[in-house]
């Protein structure tokens, strides 16, 4: 883990708005953060894009990457442009950015027309990069064009901020040719500054989603009614996921969505366990979904002309010694997939992760020998 600035060692990222741009894995695993650069497989994108955060930016971002215990929004304005790097999105940080306290800090720095009421949900997202848990530090930028550079274009700050779902996108927008970005610095922020400030009160309502309070952590700053999706649809799709949290321990009759992450992949997927009946089915579906990552391709995004790698090659990889499929059960323990009967598995599985075998040591007594994923 190179950057000394990133106190991203353990999961105790509690009060670090760590700009650990290089930490990919979604936490909660208790696993060590992997250095983004360790993703040897991903050759596709510019390594320049990849190393961005580290080398190129190091001098620029030192400031941004400084450990700060305060809420990012309360920083001085000049910090703003660099906030985009904070985007490393530590999911765990969510509870740290409750809307109420942040509202004041966030708006003040950049808004000219600060209204005491701080009414507009949007500008929370605009300035307070704080809430952006770009988690999936999906700096998908490595997937796209060699956008390089350091553009912490403040545009990124201003625009991409809806933390709701795309810290990533914010980063993306920061990427393109740095030169241009810096020139543009003046434009957007001015425009932005005219925008009214956020209302946390409004934000907290989150009515559309709060009905289930399952998939959405309460502390996340969310703009009410955005994206514009009917509450019915939101509830319905969320209800499916909620079934995992049945109190009596039995999942409801609906879909059983669990998130699947993969070491080194920039983003998660979701699968509905109910649509599979055996480990084999699950495994082949996952193989298809993650094939592009394992083999260093980047899927459809911004990578025209890349070949689709053969599934068989992927299967070899997965069935070989490199990766194992693990899951987190109801108790929060990480186990190797395949040990229990399928029915029992779907009842206890909360989350899936495809790990490198080397990381799976210690998960189960026979983890190292058992490098095959499926039964």
């Amino acid at each position: 883990m190179s950057p000394p600035l990133l106190g991203v060692e353990e999961e105790g990222q509690s009060n670090i708005s760590s700009p650990s741009v290089d930490c990919i894995s979604q936490n909660g695993l208790g696993l060590k953060e992997r250095n983004y650069l360790g993703l040897s497989d991903c050759s596709s994108v510019d390594s320049s894009g990849v190393s961005l955060p580290e080398e190129n930016k190091s001098n620029l971002n030192l400031k941004a990457t400084e450990l700060r215990l305060g809420l990012p929004g309360s920083q001085s304005p000049e910090r703003e442009p660099e906030l985009c790097l904070l985007n490393s999105g530590k999911l765990d940080e969510k509870p740290l950015f409750p809307l109420l306290p942040s509202k004041d800090g966030i708006c003040s720095s950049s808004q000219k027309s600060v209204v005491s009421g701080n009414k507009r949900g949007f500008s929370d997202t605009m300035d307070g990069f704080s809430e952006v848990k770009g988690s999936v530090y999906g700096e998908k930028n490595w997937m796209f064009h060699g956008a390089d550079s350091d553009s912490e274009s403040p545009q990124a700050v201003g625009h991409g901020k809806y933390p709701g779902n795309s810290g990533v996108n914010v980063m993306l927008s920061a990427r393109p040719s740095g030169a241009q970005a810096s020139v543009k610095k003046d434009g957007p922020p001015n425009a932005l500054q005219e925008r009214p400030c956020a209302t946390t009160g409004t934000n907290l309502k989150q009515t559309g989603i709060s009905n289930n309070n399952s998939s959405v952590p309460a502390a996340k700053a969310q703009v009410v009614g955005w994206p514009p999706i009917r509450s019915f649809r939101t509830k319905t799709l969320a209800t499916s996921s909620k079934n995992n949290d049945e109190v009596d321990g039995k999942p409801g009759p609906g879909a059983l969505f669990v998130k699947v992450s993969m070491a080194g992949a920039p983003y998660l997927r979701k699968v509905d366990l109910r649509t599979y009946s055996t480990y084999r089915e699950l495994s082949s579906a996952l193989e298809k979904m993650f094939s592009c990552f394992t083999l260093g391709q980047c899927g459809s995004h911004g990578a025209p002309g890349k070949e689709i790698l053969s599934e068989s090659k992927l299967k070899d990889l997965l069935h070989g010694s490199e990766y194992v499929l693990t899951y987190e059960d109801k108790d929060g323990d990480w186990m190797l997939v395949g040990d229990v009967p399928w029915e029992m598995f779907i009842e206890t599985c909360k989350r899936l992760k495809i790990m490198k075998s080397s990381d799976a040591i210690g998960l189960a007594p026979r983890a190292t020998e058992k490098s095959k994923i499926v039964n």
Partner: protein, 609 residues
Amino acid sequence: MESSKLKREKDSQISDELNELRMESSELKKAKDSPISDESYRRSSFPDEVLERVISLLNSHRDRSSVSLVCKDWYNMERWSRTHVFIGNCYSVSPEIVARRFPKIRSVTLKGKPRFSDFNLVPQNWGADVHAWLVVFAAKYPFLEELRLKRMTISDASLEFLASSFPNFKALSLLSCDGFSTNGLAAIATHCKNLTELDIQENDIDDKGGGWLSCFPESFTSLEVLNFANVTSDINFDALERLIGRCKSMRVLKVNRSVSLEQLQRLLANAPQLTELGTGSFSQELTPRQYEDLESVFNNCKNIHTLSGLWEVKGLYLPALYPVSTHLTFLNLSYAVLQSDELAKLLVHCPQLKRLWVLDTVEDKGLEAVGSNCPLLEELRVFPADPFDEEIVYGVTEAGFVAVSYGCPRLHYVLYFCRQMTNAGVATVVRNCPDFTHFRLCIMTPGQPDYLTNEPMDEAFGAVVKTCRKLQRLSVSGYLTDLTFEYIGRYAKNLETLSVAFAGSSDWGMQCVLAGCPKLRKLEIRDCPFGNAALLSGLEKYESMRSLWMSACNVTMNGCRLLAREMPRLNVEVMKEEGSDDDGRADKVYVYRSIAGRRRDAPSSVLTL
């Protein structure tokens, strides 16, 4: 199913004929006024009976409105022959006024709350309660047959009242409504002996169980349309099976997810005449025999052209649908979590598809398959599967959009939720598909620029309005400056509905739109830097529009008061947030024209200025 294009041509044909009639009539009038004319000249050219006959054939409410403006005779003939009334804003007119003008109504469509209430921007008790309307209808239209409500509040008591007041009642459709529970549905099922249609879509229902379905009496056989896909609790399957069995004219059946595949198979075995089907859950464990049965029952359903549902879909079972998919024109997969290859495999068998709704789990690859397999596609809607989950970042991009446009030149309706877009991508799309009438692009991060060039998305929407001359509806997103709105004002001459969020740089943007779009009817704006100057620049315009919504903008109470004062025929309503200080800012403003005056049922949080 007539393609909408054909319908539009027909409508414009009728409009042309109307224009001719109108011209003739005005010429006749001039002739009459001139000293040379006489009565016989007027009458012999155009007997009233003929005119009545022609007018009675008109279905479009806009054409009827035009007709009624020609002269008093035409106005009267039209009002006596109108059987269906469409009221786009329930507060624009009162039920008494409607009943007075149109004595023979059998079918009513009523829309209530502003569209942003779908996204929780409107307080719960805002209004749009249908009861007052029902009371008047019961008195004036005892022979009422159809009621279609959108974004209205309807209580169980109202549903009971409805069920018992109209003996001929046939069709009830509720979309995006609230205020009722399944008990209200039970009342409808129990008392409406002539019911042909019960269409309950995407409402906020208090679901008290599925017993309502069992309330249809055993003697009841008239149902043709039954859609309870979104009434989620378990129903009594036997009751459903018997109901379907005895309603031989059933053509539209959309069940909820409590209905399993095996049960679906049993239903379909008895209803091969269905034209529209919404399945239940599509993921039960089937034995090979059961799968065969399923396949064969689909094989027998030769008339299904619309398919939806597919909750919890198991990709493995999709091939059972192949016999049906060849005839499909509308496939709604917006609740089916499919991956790209699963969709691709299915689409190979859907060459006739005209409308497709999917989730973004199919990704760009899935959309490429759309482009490759569905050349007749006219409408595409891509919904986000996880819009609020920040960990989930996949979805569709400009690549998928472009891929569809190359393969589907007839595309004219798009609703596209994505996390990134480019100006070039949109420009390519509209170059390939210049016939867009509805272009709704939602880049889910507010204010996000072109992710490749980091420029505003102005040129994207500029390309849309310059190229798509028939554009009626536009929703913009991404980082936009006033330039976008200049383009819209300058080029979007047929635009009727515009939705704007997190965009614009100054009042000038909104002013351009208000000054430049002659056909604008609905303008909804949120979180934009438009203030009083912009609001007031549309003074005269608002009377020609249905409504204006502005929330989280820079409009103040004084601005609104001024508007209200200058334009007495507009209702200017301001919704105050709970606990917000009265700092002069108007949080949410809703302006609409009305001949009914200010409404009397506004809650305390709504001020009519």
